[in-house]
Amino acid sequence: MASGPSRPLRLLGTKIPYVEGPLKVTGRAEYTDDIHRPGELVGRLLRSPWPHARLRSIDVAAARATPGVFAVLTGEKYPTPFGVLPITHDETALAVGKVRYIGDIVAAVAARDERTAEEALAKIRIDVEPLADYPDPQTGLSKVAEPIHARGLNGTNVQKEVVQHFGDVDAAFARAARTVRVRGSFVGVTHAFTEPLVTLAEATPDGRLTVWSATQVPHYLHRSLSEVLGIPMHRIRVIKPEVGGGFGGKSDPLPHEIVCAALAVETGRPVRMLLDREDVFFTNHGRHPTQNDVRIALDADGRILAYDIEAVIDGGAWSSFGTVTTYYNGVLAMGPYTVPNFRYRGRRVYTTKPPSGAMRAHGGTNIRYSVEVALDRLAEETGVDPFDLRARNALPPHSLTVNQFRITSTSFLKCLAVARERSGWDSKFRRLPFGRGVGLGCGFYISGSNSPIHFTPKMPQSTVHLKVDMDGGIAVHSMQADIGQGSNTLLAAIVAEVLGVDLERVHVQRVDSDVSPIDIGSYSSRVTFMMGNAAREAAEELRGKIVAGAAALLGVPAEGLEVGHERIHPVGRPDAGVPFLDALHRAMESTGALQATGAYRSPTLGGTFKGARAGTAPAYTFSAYVAEVDVDVETGEYRVEKIWAAFDCGRVLNRLAVEGQVEGSIHMGLGQLMGESMNYRASRLFNPSLLEYKVPAPQQMPEVEILLVGDDDPEGPFGAKEAGEGPLIATLPAVGNALYDAVGCRFLELPITPDRVLKGLDLRAKEGRRWKGA
């Protein structure tokens, strides 16, 4: 694959406004709930009020007899299990035999209007045998009376156990000069995207099913619909309209999507399934509540000798991405550092609560907090500056980690240097007055999971098709899913860059499985890297055809030509060339409209041991953030004043989008750190609304100084890597460590609420520890 640019970039690297921006600011962008089909029915779901119960019988006769009701569905009609990972198909569209959390779908109705649907749902009678509920993952580690799933390991509720050991951790700890242990505790947080979950489905007399859905992974939805409904994929058409945010919460195929499609099949009518905000909270799939236990050993030179990590991860009712989560909580803890000995035991446990799943910086966030706090402690206890400790342990470029991750580009040392300098670290650390402080946190994340979930890496993870006709407009087809992060804009910009044309010539088409070639969607921060390479390859193929047209017009060999702005001309002589359209029209003479294809296949990576592919990626991103905080020691409230965010995403392709991802990531990271919490009493979620689930307000945002220092990645498109998830990770430990610098208290339970700050201050006072004179 080509690496660096062959000529200076014209468009890429600048601030490129989002191509759909004018539609979004005028309300003209079309989301799923804005689409209407004639004769639509309303779909509604009946959810379980029991956390765990055996279904004895469901009486739907009265519901079915309600005038205006077209269909009533229960689980036995579509019992085929599904799930995002083929190895853990443990969900069904509607509950079969048991319900497993408050919110599990028991029945569904399609009716002429909302009122009729609600009236019908109210008439459904469910007879259950209540079972013991298991809200606490610790309980589920041992044998339980009634395992939530039959597939729990050995009669427990453990869904997945990962045990890995590289090197000799016990020997490393035995010879360590200094060790530290940190136990972190993290509640669940959720995506809180603004557009609720919504699906529209229509079955037509030609035997086809069309599904519009707010999804970030249209291809996996396509597969799951086919599996559960028993309809071949080629008779199902999945359309992804604009999506109002995802952050991982729209990456699983979700049961309401399948139920909506099933109701459309049952009724032969279009059916709309719009979930209300409470339903969205109960659907969850957010970040896993987690307890982790991190031990780190250092040698006398301050080099990391070993990690020893345990994690207990609260999975909720289903597997979702959980097997991946379980691996990630270990393997993503090592980078950006060299860790020669590594031991990890991670267990993800089913509980009778809404399922956890993938959320932005999936699997890399909670464990990172504990690791970075542990390193902060080690730095303090060994009298080394936190920056120096990190720099001493930085992973070198072009190296292999102990678990055989291939590291190519890394600008981590540059991140450290620039964050240290710009933040004024050396004049602030431990020198600001009591109540004020600075902290360092670092991060590491995958730039695209190397393994496609559903097929072998021999098949492309991303394919891009281009078509251009006499009008000179370039249609771009790909199933990549823009959910607001700007992938449509990047796709258009790469094509425009390679062809030398204005951006307005390039029209990215709506994702439609009938015409979009497969790209496996927006998750694992894969789109820029993988789609970007596919787009570049497709555009280069198209450029070859158009340059051939120019060569024929000019009567010169194509090798002597280059692409300028809307022109093709002899190298170095823009005046002597031909306009883009003339060259295009000449090139079209034999075939008519031109087409081109590009594809990205991930390289062969990773070891051969069990689980070796988890966490392998064709590139990784690196970060070093400094946070400065101001704590009100009377109330425990604190303000994050500023974050210096040094991030290595390789070459920056759209500066506007990268900045937007960094700023949004910091906001989301601060939310988890400062107050967001899925509050449970036993198995019941108690705050399923945006009023009670507190996303930070504009006033809580710090000033953010973004420092993009990445060198070109050898395999990324034009040298780029991801920027969608990695920028979140360092936010949390940077603030956590800054709070320590401010008041001398370690906070190991998230979120760090004002009352926890006060408790920390009280504890410090009781212990008689003084901090910065206070």
Partner: protein, 157 residues
Amino acid sequence: MSAEARVKFLLNGHPQEVPCEDARILLDLLRDDLHLTGTKRGCDLGTCGCCTVLVDGRPTLSCLTLARLTEGRSVTTIEGLTPPQGLSAVQRAFVDLGATQCGFCTPGFVVTATALLEENPRPTRAEIERAISGNLCRCTGYIKIVDAIAAASRSSG
């Protein structure tokens, strides 16, 4: 529904008279009956601001407003703030400065920002933050939204 259950109001500058039950919510009337889908439904509880419209020039959560209460008043939606060609100054600034990401909250922000600048043409950042604090954006961290509103305030006269 009785035959006389109707509401008369000015919608985006044009007189409207449409059937309207007493309990009809303004958001439902706009989206479902009048097909003005630029006003977004995010929570139905007044917690996200995606459904913000102007009633007599004041930002109003249409999901918490009975449609009948707009009788004789002026309602402006995002469609009414959009010039026939091109974009308003606020819309232009949102596009140019990347204040949209997923875009679902954007109409609500544009409506709120337009009302703010009408009332206070030169707001400080703190005043902008206060004005938009009823609008939830999960994508941007608000920084580029505040930047865009500040830029629009400078560009308009």
